[in-house]
Symmetry: C2
Subunit: 208 residues, 2 copies
């Protein structure tokens, strides 16, 4: 299971690397809806055979980011405007569940990581850096729940939510400190579960 979004580490395989690079390009809109993913070009760019590229394509398909179209090859999927409301409500349901299990298990180390991600988020000067830091903030907050399947589902929702955010905000994005993040961290530090869940719900419904 992938536990941190956009992770890069020494154990990454060629498939992981190609999948993450393509995912990031689709999420940010660099590869737009309908675009053809060319197996031979990508294999050449990464100096690999077709096998890991094909495998990376299937992972993109499983995440709903690409789709094999008969006679047209692998294409970037369209953005579904109705999907974002579903994704927000599913994030609220699952992230509140994860936070409920995570909050009693936060220690100085995890709180320091949440705070570092919060500061990185506020300091971001472009949307790609902000998005990565924002996902790092939310994951650092929820990771202590220790529920891998739940965290994996939340990560999938983050990917779709980020794609919608980039599609609609990329041209209008402005750097700003996030007061919800600060309030959320404060409630977690105080071990106030009710308040923390209320802030998280409001935050996800507002910014997503």
């Amino acid at each position: 299971m992938v536990i941190a979004p956009y992770r890069t580490d020494m154990s990454e395989t060629a498939v992981d690397k190609i999948f993450r690079a393509l995912m990031e390009r689709i999420v940010t809109g660099d590869l737009p809806a309908g675009e053809k993913l060319r197996q031979d070009h990508i294999a050449r760019d990464y100096e690999v055979s077709h096998v890991p590229v094909r495998e990376a394509f299937l992972r993109l398909e499983a995440k709903g980011l690409a789709k094999s179209v008969p006679h047209k090859g692998m294409r970037v999927t369209e953005l579904e405007p109705t999907e974002i409301r579903e994704v927000i409500e599913m994030r609220v349901a699952l992230e509140v569940l994860a936070l409920t299990h995570a909050l009693p298990r936060h220690d100085d180390q995890t709180l320091a990581e949440v705070d570092a991600a919060r500061i990185a988020c506020d300091a971001a000067r472009d949307m790609i850096t902000w998005d990565r830091s924002n996902r790092r903030f939310h994951f650092a907050l929820l990771m202590p729940c220790g529920m891998p399947r739940l965290l994996s589902s939340i990560e999938d929702l983050h990917i779709t939510a980020a794609r919608h955010l980039f599609a609609y905000w990329r041209d209008r994005w402005v750097s700003r400190p996030d007061s919800d993040h600060a309030a959320l961290l404060e409630a977690v530090r105080a071990q106030d579960l009710t308040l923390a869940c209320d802030i998280l719900r409001r935050h996800l419904r507002r910014v997503s």
Copy 2:
């Protein structure tokens, strides 16, 4: 998107058919953890080429039911005992969300389908029939929410939950009328959202 569990209809492709047959055999324990899935045998049994079998394997992998093991081929995954607690809590979170959106949209036709599934469930004399009817009951109840991504996630959780149920109850299963199902349908008929959600939460935590 697959909207009804174990659906069979005219539009099913060879891949769908092979995927569903293998899924059902893994879920019910007929294909146990660690078992090798033999591409050539399955292709021969279904009178197809290796291509749709390979595709069905990848779908099983995406659902966590099979895994490609280096030098050992495709194998049925092990059951993770800790997974069931996660699956129950995720079902509670997502099914309560779906029910909240579905309840105001229930009409005579959807209520009749929920009731028919409830009766089929109570009448089941073996665990496989009961499991299918039980999933049909839960899906009929939630389908009117009209949220395809949410329903698809719930279906994945049902598949894993059913696999655990079969593993632990297959030898001890007994036919019995389900009073939770009756109470849930009554609360939905009365459009009592709070009561319906309370019963659903209790039911999922009890029977799963």
